[in-house]
Symmetry: C2
Subunit: 335 residues, 2 copies
Amino acid sequence: MKMNKKIRIAQFGLGPIGIACLSLLSRKNRFEVVGGIDIREALVGHSLNDVVGSSSFGSAQIYESFEALAHETPVDAVLHTVGSRANTSLEQMKPMIEAGCAIVSSCEELLFPALRAPEETALADTHCHKTGGRILGTGVNPGFVLDVLPICLTGICADVRAVYGERVVDASTRRQPLQKKVGSGLPPEAFIELEKKGLAGHAGFHESLMLIAHALGWTVGPISDSIEAVVASEQIETDHFTIEVGQTAGLHQIVHASSPEGHEIHLDLKMYQGAKDPHDYLRLDSEPPIEATVHGGIAGDLATVAALVNALPRLMQADPGVRLMTELSLPKCVV
Amino acid sequence: MKMNKKIRIAQFGLGPIGIACLSLLSRKNRFEVVGGIDIREALVGHSLNDVVGSSSFGSAQIYESFEALAHETPVDAVLHTVGSRANTSLEQMKPMIEAGCAIVSSCEELLFPALRAPEETALADTHCHKTGGRILGTGVNPGFVLDVLPICLTGICADVRAVYGERVVDASTRRQPLQKKVGSGLPPEAFIELEKKGLAGHAGFHESLMLIAHALGWTVGPISDSIEAVVASEQIETDHFTIEVGQTAGLHQIVHASSPEGHEIHLDLKMYQGAKDPHDYLRLDSEPPIEATVHGGIAGDLATVAALVNALPRLMQADPGVRLMTELSLPKCVV
C-alpha cells in the first residue's frame, strides 16, 4: 500500500509531549497537521504556530474538542497524548473512532487495554470495525524497551522459558511531569500512598508484562508488583525539583508473573533522580539464550514522541480495530 | 485473524538446516508436516521419521519434487532451505506459488530480492497476487541481526543519519557448510578467488544493507564491498576442518553505502574459526543516539531455523506477494 497523500493529523493534548509531537510532525514529509485540541480555554482559538513557536503550521488552530476541529476540516489521524487510563482515553476517542480516524496514543494502559478495560476495549474495537477506525497505545516504556524489544528478540528463538528486563532511568533527564510522577521531593510514605491510589508511579508496567505474555501465548497467573521509594542520600537539584536528604528521588518497581507451564516474566524498573549507569538490559532464558544491553538506555522524551509518530503510518496499514504493537509491522523511523 | 487449523507444511531441502527445521516444527503445535522434498535419489521415498530420527512425522515421506508431494496432499506452506541465489530460488518456487503456498526461505538474496533479481521478483510477485501465494526470505544474518534489529531500533528515533552494525562470529560453533563457505583451510588467494566468483563468502550482506536503506526511505549510491581472508596464526582444529598456519580461518567483510543527503550504512562482519569475543553491536547515529550490544552474539544454526519457523504464521497473515521482513508484523517466537 502506497500512501502518496499526506496524512491529515490532529494533535489531542498540548502538554510537553503534545508540543514535542507537533515539532516532530512538522519535520516529517508524511504529515499535514490540521489542528490541535486542548481543553484549556487559554489555548483555544490560538494558532498552533504561536503555541509551538513555529511557522510550520499555517493557519492550523487549537480547538476545544475533536468535534469542533473535525467540523472544520477532514482528519485522518490523531496523536492522543492525554492521560494514562484506558477507559478515560477510550471515552475521549469515541468521536475520533466515529470519524474513522487512526489514533496513536501515549496512554500507557492502551498498550494492552484488555487488562484494565476489557469491556470498553471490546466496544471500541467493534466501533472501529464499523467506521474503519484504529487505536494503538505505544511509547518507549511502555511500548518498546521492556515489551516490544524483548518480543522482537524472541523472533529468532526456538523456545522461550523466561523474559527478564531491567531498566535504569536517570529521571533528572526527563520532563517535569515524569519527575513528578516518580515522587520527586515527596516523603517516601506519601509517594507510596499516592502510588497505591494510582496518582503517582509508572503507569503501564503490568501492560508491558501482559503484552509479552500475550505475544508468546503464555497464560500467566496474577502479577506480583513490588514498589518502593528510592530515597535521596544527598541533596539533589534538578531543573524542576530540589530533593532533600530522606525525600523521594524516584521509584524502584518490579513486576513478575509466571505460568503453570513454568514460563516467567520479570521486569525491573529503577527511575530516580541521579540514577547512575542508566541502561536497558534484556535477558531471555531461551534457545539460543539471548542477553542484550542498550548502553545508556533508550531514554528521553524525544524517543517517546518518535515512537508515537513512527507508529502512525504502520497503524494506518493495519486492520481496523483496537490494535497491539505486536500486530503492526516492524517498527521503523518514518521519513 | 485466528488460525485454529494446523498449518500443513512441507520442508524443501533436507540439508542440515532443513533437518533442523523439521525437528523444530515437530515441537510446535501450529504445524503439521506433510512431507519433505529433496533431489537426492537416495532420500526419495523414505519416511521423514527415518531421515530425521524422530517418530513425530507419521507417514510423511520424502518426494523428488513439490509437485509430487502436492499431488498427494494439500500444502499450505513450505520452508525452503536450498541455495543462496534469488533467481534460482524463485524458479524453484513457481509450482509452490501456483499452489498458493506461503514460502519462507533461507535463501539469503530473497531478504531483498529486488537487488539481484528485479524482473524475476516482479514476476513472482504478480504470480503470487493471482494465486494468494507469499514469499519471504529471512534468517539470522541476513534477516535479523544486521538488518531487522537495527531497523526495529529506529522505531523510537525522531531522525536517523547513520546505521552501524558489527558482527563477530566464531565459525567453529557453526555447521559444516558455513565453515566451508567462509573458506576454512583454503589458501587465502583461493578463498578470495572463490568469493569473487560467488562460490564462497557470506551471501546476503548487500541485501541487509538494502533492507535498511529501503526501510528508512534512503536512496543509497553504489555499495562498496571490501573482503579479506582472516589467516590462521596457529593451527585450528574443528569438528569439520584442520586449518594450518597461513591458511584461511574465515572472512572479514565490510559493506558501506551512503546517500546524497548524507545518510550512511556501514556493516562489518568477522566470521572465522576461533574468533574471540563473538558479539553483535549496533550503533545508530540518531535522535536519540542508540548503542546496543548482544553479548555473545546471536549465533548458532538453531537461531536461523527458529527465524524461519517463527516467520511463517506472520507471513500467512500478510498480503499475498513477495514480502519483506519490514512488512510482516513484529517478530516473535511461535508456540
